[in-house]
């Protein structure tokens, strides 16, 4: 569909908005800011729609554009706590489970989210880009204007932290995994 027309543009917007908002939200941790960023990208696209050639892979172009814009936004608005609001919402995942194992799983999940949220902002951003946006270490480095080595170090740090902090729960975790494996086996 030709996005340079009004209808085509609306279609493009509706097709990608939720996904792009998700990406931006994970970087900024603020729903309103995320919408601002996504709208900035669409506005720019609308203004330059006759010149840009993105018909090959509009989704990829838009993802890159919102990540870039969000990262710039983050630089300009340092008061934004990266992914700051994630924790609370993370707890509301599921409430209707009752089995003991699943309660334990939930406890671990809760702990995990707390740990991820307490990572230093840069570390958390890199981890988040790797985990949620599926970017390679080189791509993350390019986006952030740092070296690949820095990205690798930050990822190492993120995993070490998570692993060390999850220590008390790892026994449960092992038990559950083994149990699940056993259940599958039998």
């Amino acid at each position: 569909m030709d996005f340079t027309t009004e209808d085509g543009f609306q279609h493009l917007y509706q097709q990608h908005y939720a996904r792009l908002h998700g990406i931006t939200y994970r970087i900024l941790g603020d729903s309103h800011a995320a919408e601002d960023v996504v709208h900035q990208v669409f506005l720019k696209l609308w203004e330059t729609r006759r010149r840009v050639k993105i018909s090959e892979n509009p989704g990829g172009y838009l993802s890159r554009a919102v990540i870039n814009t969000a990262l710039n936004y983050l630089k300009q608005h340092r008061y934004l706590t990266l992914m700051g609001t994630v924790e609370d919402q993370g707890l509301a995942v599921q409430n209707n489970t009752s089995s003991e194992n699943e309660e334990r799983m939930q406890a671990i999940s809760k702990q995990l989210h707390t740990i991820v949220n307490s990572l230093p902002p840069k570390c958390r951003l890199i981890f988040s880009l790797s985990r949620y946006e599926g970017l390679s270490n080189q791509e993350i480095a390019d986006y952030l204007g740092v070296t690949r080595k820095t990205v690798e170090n930050q990822l190492n740090k993120a995993f070490s932290r998570i692993r060390n902090n999850l220590g008390p729960y790892l026994t449960y975790l092992l038990g559950i995994i083994n149990l699940l494996a056993a259940q599958n086996f039998f």
């Binding site: 509706q14 908005y17 506005l43």
Partner: protein, 325 residues
């Protein structure tokens, strides 16, 4: 064997290269511990992936907000265009100004004449008719054409100026730190590294520091203005030196002058060292005049007048005598 955790991230998000994947696979298969650790990470990765839950978005509502935003931006084109228009005018003005400044400085650069005297003196007529006698070891730089507002020259060394009167275009002489401003007059300027001296022959001269033009001294015929770069002070005195123009006229005139003062003038005029063997003779008075004569003739005549004798030294003469006649 330990594994770099960042490899696990690329492995799990699918961006690992084949070699990296092999590295991770190899590590996992090495022993049961590694396998367990890998399972932990897979679990962590998956659990973290549940976070944050997709925000509830209402695409239709945000589309409406987007339309409003687009509308608001589109209704402002006039301002944007005005700004563009102003930016363009500003740019054109800037280019014009820059070209003018560059052209002007280029013009000034190429349109300058520099007279550098080493062992000779010169007599220069400037574009406005002003006459300049430039001493040895001195430099004067001036434009081929003076501007319509001022006549500016730069002097290093000594020169005598006879400035053509032009009340609309002041004549300005800059040296290292000072500047002299005149309308039409004649005066001598001598600049060295330590000081600048102005001795006025006729008319009025304003003499000041370049960076402090308000604190000027006004010199009239017979006045001497000095500026010492050590203490940056301007001093006005009566000119005691009758021979300040000897370098230009070739004349040395001594009227009831002490021998000390006379030899000082001789030394300066001929750039030599004539000294007294007997300091008591310094206060002897002499009356005479010399008209562009060779140094030896001058010394001979002085000695004759004083009943003294002289010997040649490496850089001048030594005058020998007992007392004043």
């Amino acid at each position: 064997m330990k594994i770099d955790y960042h490899l696990l991230a690329t492995y799990l998000n699918g961006t690992a290269k084949a070699a990296e994947r092999q590295q991770v696979d190899f590590w996992v298969q090495q022993d049961i511990q590694n396998q367990q650790e890998f399972e932990h990470f897979k679990f962590i990765w998956a659990e973290v992936g549940k976070l944050p839950p997709e925000q509830e978005v209402n695409t239709e509502e945000s589309w409406q907000r987007f339309l409003e935003l687009r509308e608001a931006k589109a209704s402002k084109p006039r301002v944007v265009q005005l700004r563009h228009w102003m930016v363009r005018v500003a740019a054109v003005l800037l280019i014009c100004t820059l070209s003018y400044v560059i052209w002007n400085s280029w013009q000034n650069r190429t349109g300058h004449i520099l007279v550098e005297n080493v062992e000779q003196k010169s007599d220069i007529i400037l574009p406005d008719g002003t006459r300049v006698w430039l001493n040895k070891h001195s430099e004067l730089s001036y434009p081929e054409e003076f501007t319509s507002t001022e006549r500016r020259v730069v002097l290093s060394g000594e020169a005598y100026f006879d400035v053509t009167r032009d009340t609309k275009r002041p004549f300005l002489i800059s040296s290292d730190d000072t500047e002299i401003r005149v309308l039409g007059t004649s005066f001598n300027v001598n600049t060295t590294e330590e000081q600048t001296e102005v001795i006025v022959n006729s008319g009025k001269v304003a003499f000041y520091e370049q960076n402090n033009p308000k604190e000027q001294i006004v010199l009239q015929a017979g006045d001497k203005g000095s500026y010492r770069s050590v203490n940056q002070k301007l001093i006005k005195t009566k000119n005691p030196d009758a021979n300040y123009l000897s370098w230009k006229t070739g004349q040395l005139i001594f009227q009831n002058s002490t021998l000390e003062k006379a030899l000082e003038a001789v030394n300066q005029h001929y750039a030599v060292q004539v000294t007294l063997e007997n300091p008591a003779m310094a206060q002897c008075r002499i009356n005479t005049r010399f008209n562009d004569q060779p140094l030896q003739e001058v010394i001979e005549e002085i000695c004759l007048l004083l009943g003294a004798t002289f010997d040649q030294t490496t850089n001048g003469y030594i005058v020998k005598g007992d007392k004043c006649p």
